[in-house]
């Protein structure tokens, strides 16, 4: 008989990977200070100091690059490093003399150091054309183009009033959880699913397909003798939930796919409660490889916010203070029908007071 296969052992225990200084000061950190862009120190009650150098990883990493990280970690910090919740890489140093050489090495290899404090940090993003079947746009490409353009705000060259979080999701599934970002770049379809009537009955359960549609745009139908479904096109708002449950209903369409831009979301409870992002620019066509209209639009938004926000005022807090009418005017974005919510709770987004500025 075979040896029983080991399963369900779970992830390795994190303690294995903690540097000694962390083990010793676990739960005993007292305060931190930002020393320069991308570099901070945490000071323990014991007086111990832990230096962190943060660099952009790009997220999509080859094993070659990871091995280089490992080498750097060995060289400067006993082999200890981590990644952040926004996919940056962080080196954990105890010797402050190692900071500058490490930073220099990272910069040399094209991994800018920064993203700490009042800065723009890495864009949380998703798969796009690199791996996902649902993508209405590419993820890595836009992210690269946008961050190339915004690098001054990552590496500390240009100061900002507060943190600004950008996220990208390549379709409405929003794996990048862009719904609560200062600026969100969201891939969108704009053409209803093209039903493949020949494969549908085989690949999909018709009742599931019908019930998948939040706007009841799908109904069963016999087409060319096939049991299939039809889409009432004017009821479709391109969520692609039908496609998720049924491969025979693709929405991907080069002519109509593109991105929308959303602003003013946040996650932290700092000052204001967490907020959803709101629609700013309904549609920008895909324009690979560098999506110049998207990088322009994002830069304009960043600059507008940077020039006008108070200290520690996130994008959404700033807009809340000045009001959306002023925002649309200052951002020079035409306000359109698309901006007005018409989903289930739409009525609650209407302006139900006379608190207006002129």
């Amino acid at each position: 008989m075979a040896v029983e296969r080991r399963t369900d052992f779970g992830p390795p225990h994190y303690e294995k990977y903690l540097p000694p200084i962390i083990k010793e000061n676990y739960g005993k950190w007292k305060y931190h200070e930002i020393l320069k862009p991308g570099v901070m120190v945490h000071v323990s009650e014991s007086g111990d100091k832990l230096y962190t150098v943060r660099a952009s990883s790009g997220r999509l990493l080859s094993i070659d690059k990871i091995r280089i990280y490992a080498d750097l970690a060995d060289k400067y910090c006993g082999g200890y490093l981590r990644f952040t919740s926004r996919h940056n890489v962080e080196f954990l140093l105890t010797d402050s003399a190692n900071i500058d050489p490490l930073v220099a090495d990272l910069q040399k290899m094209g991994h800018p150091v920064g993203g700490i404090g009042n800065a723009i940090t890495s864009i949380v993003h998703t798969q796009g054309w690199v791996h996902c079947h649902s993508a209405a746009t590419d993820a890595s490409g836009i992210v690269k183009a946008v961050m190339d353009d915004l690098i001054e705000y990552f590496d500390g060259t240009t100061k900002l009033p507060g943190k600004l979080r950008i996220a990208l999701a390549c379709c409405l599934n929003m794996c990048g959880a862009v719904h609560c970002s200062d600026i969100a770049i969201l891939g969108i379809h704009r053409r209803p699913p093209k039903v493949n009537h020949e494969t549908l009955k085989k690949q999909c359960e018709i009742p599931n397909v019908v019930s998948a549609c939040p706007t009841a745009a799908i109904r069963p139908a016999i087409v060319d003798g096939n049991q299939s479904v039809e889409v009432i096109e004017e009821n479709c708002m391109f969520c692609a939930n039908c496609y998720t449950v049924c491969p025979s209903m693709p929405l991907n369409d080069p002519l109509n796919d593109g991105v929308s831009i959303w602003v003013g979301g946040k996650v932290s409870n700092a000052r204001t409660e967490p907020m959803f992002s709101k629609l700013a620019i309904p549609f920008i066509p895909n324009n690979p490889p560098r999506w110049p209209e998207v990088t322009d639009a994002v830069r304009k938004l960043v600059e507008l916010w940077a020039a006008n926000a108070h200290n520690h005022e996130r994008m959404g807090e700033w807009i809340q203070r000045i009001g959306w009418p002023k925002f649309f005017k200052m951002a020079d974005i035409p306000f359109q029908k698309e901006h007005i919510d018409d989903f289930k709770h739409a009525g609650l987004t209407f302006k139900r007071s006379t608190h207006l500025t002129f």
């Binding site: 929003m174 391109f238 003013g264 306000f335 359109q336 901006h339 207006l356």
Partner: protein
């Protein structure tokens, strides 16, 4: 007239106390009116039993009018014949609820001759409410009222009796002439007021400033609320007097300003007016020192209503700013476009606010030919479910119009 004198031990408890007693009023009326007397009897029974004794209303009215009368019948009419019919008449009040003693007396005289002698001054829509009469009295009442120039108000699926705050008549803050606007639109829409032809009721209310003293934003399908576009008028010396008089201007004014746009340097008040949301608070607190600006008009909002059926709504901004002045052409055109669309596509018993939510504000605006502006929303959409209306076809690359 042979009349029962009812024992009303429970109601009698409500003759006590400092507040005016409706029981006393009914008793006063009962001295002269058997209807009022039987109301007393039936009401005492309701108090005993903890239940009303009115039947579901029937349709009664005056000739040529479809509204203005609420039919009401007792379910104990044998016991209380005086209230076997007990209909309400809604009389359109004069704008601002101003009267002369003479006008009031002549109304009382009509009601003494033909009804219970009981009224509401006023109903919560604003009408003079004549409380309790018989079907056969309706026409004579109307005839006599007509002689006094008092017409009937709305009820049913029609325009309801509009009402307004006293505005320019007695308030320094009125940003447009509420009473004139209310009067004029009431006159111009008499047919809509008297002949129910809407999907459901429709109410106008006119308030001269954002204090909204007729609760228009909460209680009218179309709310006209005065406001201004330029700078708040300030008299610095009067500001100073308030402060010297003990006003904690920082805590009670500046810290409460929703625009966060005021500063007090110990001597002068300054306001960054481009951030002022015209809330009225500072003006309310210092009426001698501050006044609304001079470029005045009103914000028009749409859709408020009580909860039945889809939940209560407050009105929402439709026109951020409009001068509301004679001959009111622009606003009348707008109202008619709204009614056209709502009458065409609204469901039975669907208030305009519910209708807008069902069809979408964007679509509604298109139908009434109003451009969307960001002032209409608290914020743009949060969900990505956008009904983009056009797409390109693969073959020809041309934009195609959908929906």
């Amino acid at each position: 007239m042979a009349e029962t004198t009812y024992k009303t031990p429970l109601l009698d408890e409500l003759e006590k106390g400092a507040w005016p007693s409706f029981v006393k009023e009914i008793k006063m009326a009962a001295k002269r009116s058997p209807m009022a007397n039987d109301l007393l009897g039936q009401l005492e029974q309701s108090y005993q039993e903890k239940i009303g004794h009115w039947k579901h209303g029937g349709i009664v009215g005056v000739m040529g009018y479809g509204g203005g009368v609420i039919g009401r019948y007792s379910d104990l009419s044998e016991k209380y014949p005086g209230v076997s019919h007990f209909h309400t008449m809604r009389i359109n009040q004069p704008a601002g609820w101003f009267y002369t003693s003479e006008a009031l007396r002549s109304l009382c005289d009509v009601w003494e001759r033909h009804g219970s002698g009981l009224t509401n001054m006023h109903g919560s829509t604003g009408d003079i409410v004549f409380l309790g009469t018989r079907t056969e009295e309706l026409e004579p009442i109307f005839e006599e009222l007509a002689k006094l120039d008092f017409d009937i108000g709305g009820s049913g699926s029609d325009l309801r009796t509009p009402s307004c705050c006293n505005g320019m008549a007695r308030c320094e803050w009125a940003c447009y002439d509420t009473m004139q606007a209310c009067y004029q639109l009431t006159q111009d829409f008499q047919d809509e007021l008297h002949r129910p032809a809407f999907p459901y009721k429709f109410k106008f209310k006119f308030s001269g400033c954002p204090n909204d003293c007729v609760a228009s934003i909460a209680r009218s399908d179309m709310s006209f609320i005065g406001t201004w576009r330029d700078d708040i008028q300030m008299d610095q010396s009067e500001v100073k007097k308030y402060v010297d008089g003990g006003l904690d201007i920082q805590k009670d004014v500046i810290d409460r300003c929703p625009g966060k746009c005021m500063e007090w340097n110990g001597k002068e008040l300054s306001i960054e007016n481009s951030f002022c949301v015209k809330c009225m608070h500072c003006i309310n607190v210092m009426p001698k020192a501050l006044r609304p600006g001079k470029d005045r008009g009103c914000t028009i909002l749409i859709g408020s209503k009580a909860p039945i059926v889809e939940g209560a709504q407050l009105s929402s901004v439709l026109v951020p700013f409009m001068k509301l002045e004679p001959p009111y052409t622009e606003i009348k055109d707008l109202i008619e476009r709204i009614w056209d669309v709502w009458c065409e596509e609204g469901k039975n018993r669907e208030r305009v606010g519910e209708f807008i939510q069902r069809v979408g504000l964007g679509n509604f605006l298109e139908a009434i030919e109003v451009e969307p502006v960001p002032e209409m929303v608290a914020h743009p959409r949060e969900n990505p479910y956008v009904f983009y209306e056009e797409y390109y076809e693969d073959d020809d690359g041309e934009e195609e119009e959908e929906a």
